[in-house]
């Protein structure tokens, strides 16, 4: 069985661990480069992207994650999507730049603008999506593929081995997004 590491510096890593197990994978918490090296894929969970970024910088984890991403799949939700993006705005901040997307932080507004809604899959299906102080993907590069949209904006994007959602499938009972990620593990 493949092992997915869930970056557990901060955020809803426990919910991701449970969701990955429901999707048929083994899941472990990862806080160091040595722990990450044992994994076949990595999830960067929801949380505060600024907090995760500070910890990644202070703990010297930016280079190891970038190197990991050149070989193995990474899936980022919400804060994780912000960290994987090439460009971040509102306000601008550094990122891992592993996916060719531009992301605007807190783009729907504050917590009172958070929502649970249905989003449209490009395959014609519908998904329940939990958006919490969510970002909006403003630009998707030529190599990236949109898998679901909400009000026309991409909310689930894949580029090669990597994937992001701006919503939180780990907070729903539907494990289809996590299953798709688990299928990417080689």
């Amino acid at each position: 069985m493949k092992t997915v590491g869930v970056l557990a510096l901060q955020g809803d890593f426990e919910a991701h661990r449970n969701a990955l197990e429901r999707a048929g994978s083994r899941a472990v918490e990862v806080r160091t480069a040595a722990e990450m090296a044992q994994c076949d894929g990595l999830v960067i969970p929801g949380g505060e992207s600024t907090t995760m970024l500070k910890l990644l910088e202070n703990e010297g984890l930016l280079d190891p994650i970038q190197a990991f991403g050149r070989e193995k799949p990474i899936y980022g939700t919400c804060a994780g999507a912000i960290l994987l993006a090439r460009e971040v705005s509102h306000p601008p901040q550094p990122s891992l730049e592993l996916m060719d997307i531009a992301v605007e932080r807190n783009a729907y507004g504050r917590q009172i603008d958070s929502r649970i809604t249905k989003v449209q899959g490009e395959d014609g299906g519908e998904l329940e999506a939990v958006f919490i102080r969510a970002p909006i993907i403003r630009r998707v590069g030529a190599d990236a593929r949109v898998l679901a949209r909400y009000k026309g904006d991409p909310v689930w994007v894949e580029q090669g081995r990597h994937m992001v959602t701006t919503f939180h499938p780990e907070l729903t009972a539907d494990s289809s997004v996590h299953r798709r990620f688990v299928e990417k593990l080689s």
Binding site: N58, Q111, I112, S114
Partner: protein, 296 residues
């Protein structure tokens, strides 16, 4: 629990899920909020005076100045929380209209109502409430709180009460898991909490909302201690901006919340910190000066 797990409640607890493993820092102005964000705080709590000053200066402690909360919301990109007095649902309405991300119905402020807490289900903005034991935690959840934090003893710089409260809540939850159905009915009566919530805790061994810790956390080791005992994140009030070097301490607390299970990282976090805030012996405080006994 089905009557609780509405979409509205899932969104409220959802933001609390995002704050796990992090540090929520008390701040009184924009400058402090920026220091907190830069150090890696997951959220800031805007208030007029930190608890240590409320304790020292006395008088009525109210919701913070709206102008200051608004300035802080403009200045940082992380969630901004603010405190309302226990039972003061109109302070809460004002904070909701302002658009804060979480309201703390807090014993640190002077209570506005000595019998009733706010009917929190009736708000779109989520609430966090303090608790000293399981019964208190479940009553707050029954009213709509989407996050619980131990009360500890705010502004004391003394971890003993936070430890007592997290240990009490965790022990009381463990005890429920071995009881039969008819015993749970009796326990619901003892706890003064709705049977539906008591049954949920008995079945799951944890609270149906994230369980954080507050009240007296002053050092990285304090933060790690309450997390070892079962807290999922920490609130640091006076501990940061009443210490000698707030920037270094804020950064150290963030590191400690992440690496609470790694003594070597905790050692790194504890080095070169300067003096912690001065602490109080809670046992020597007169009953009337305790903040934790506010609310029920």
């Amino acid at each position: 629990m089905n009557t609780y797990m509405t979409d509205d409640f899932r969104l409220k607890t959802g933001l609390a899920e995002m704050l796990k493993g992090g540090v929520i820092m008390d701040v009184t102005n924009v400058e402090q909020a920026k220091i907190a964000e830069k150090a890696g705080a997951t959220a800031v709590m805007a208030l007029e005076r930190v608890p240590a000053d409320i304790r020292k200066e006395g008088g009525v402690a109210r919701m913070a100045s709206i102008r200051i909360i608004h300035e802080i919301m403009e200045a940082v990109s992380i969630p901004v929380m603010a405190k309302a007095r226990i039972g003061h649902f109109m302070e809460a309405r004002v904070l909701e209209a302002l658009g804060v991300d979480y309201i703390d119905e807090s014993e640190v402020l002077t209570p506005a109502d000595e019998e009733h807490h706010i009917d929190k289900k009736n708000f779109k903005v989520p609430f966090v409430c303090g608790a000293r034991n399981l019964g208190e935690a479940l009553r707050r959840i029954a009213e709509g709180a989407a996050m619980i934090r131990t009360k500890g003893e705010a502004g004391s710089g003394n971890i003993v009460e936070a430890v007592r409260h997290i240990r009490t809540i965790v022990k009381e939850m463990k005890q429920l898991t071995v009881l039969g159905k008819e015993e749970l009915v009796h326990e619901a009566k003892n706890l003064g909490a709705p049977l539906e919530l008591v049954e949920w805790v008995a079945g799951n061994g944890k609270l149906p909302v994230p369980n954080f810790s507050a009240g007296g956390i002053a050092t990285p080791a304090d933060a790690a201690l309450v997390m070892q005992l079962g807290a999922e994140a920490v609130f640091v009030g006076s501990g940061i901006f009443k210490s000698e070097d707030p920037e270094a301490r804020a950064k150290a607390m963030v590191k400690a919340a992440t690496f609470f299970n790694d003594p070597v990282k905790l050692l790194e976090a504890s080095e070169e910190l300067g003096e912690a805030m001065r602490g109080l012996d809670v046992a020597k405080l007169p009953e009337g000066e305790l903040l934790q006994t506010r609310g029920w």
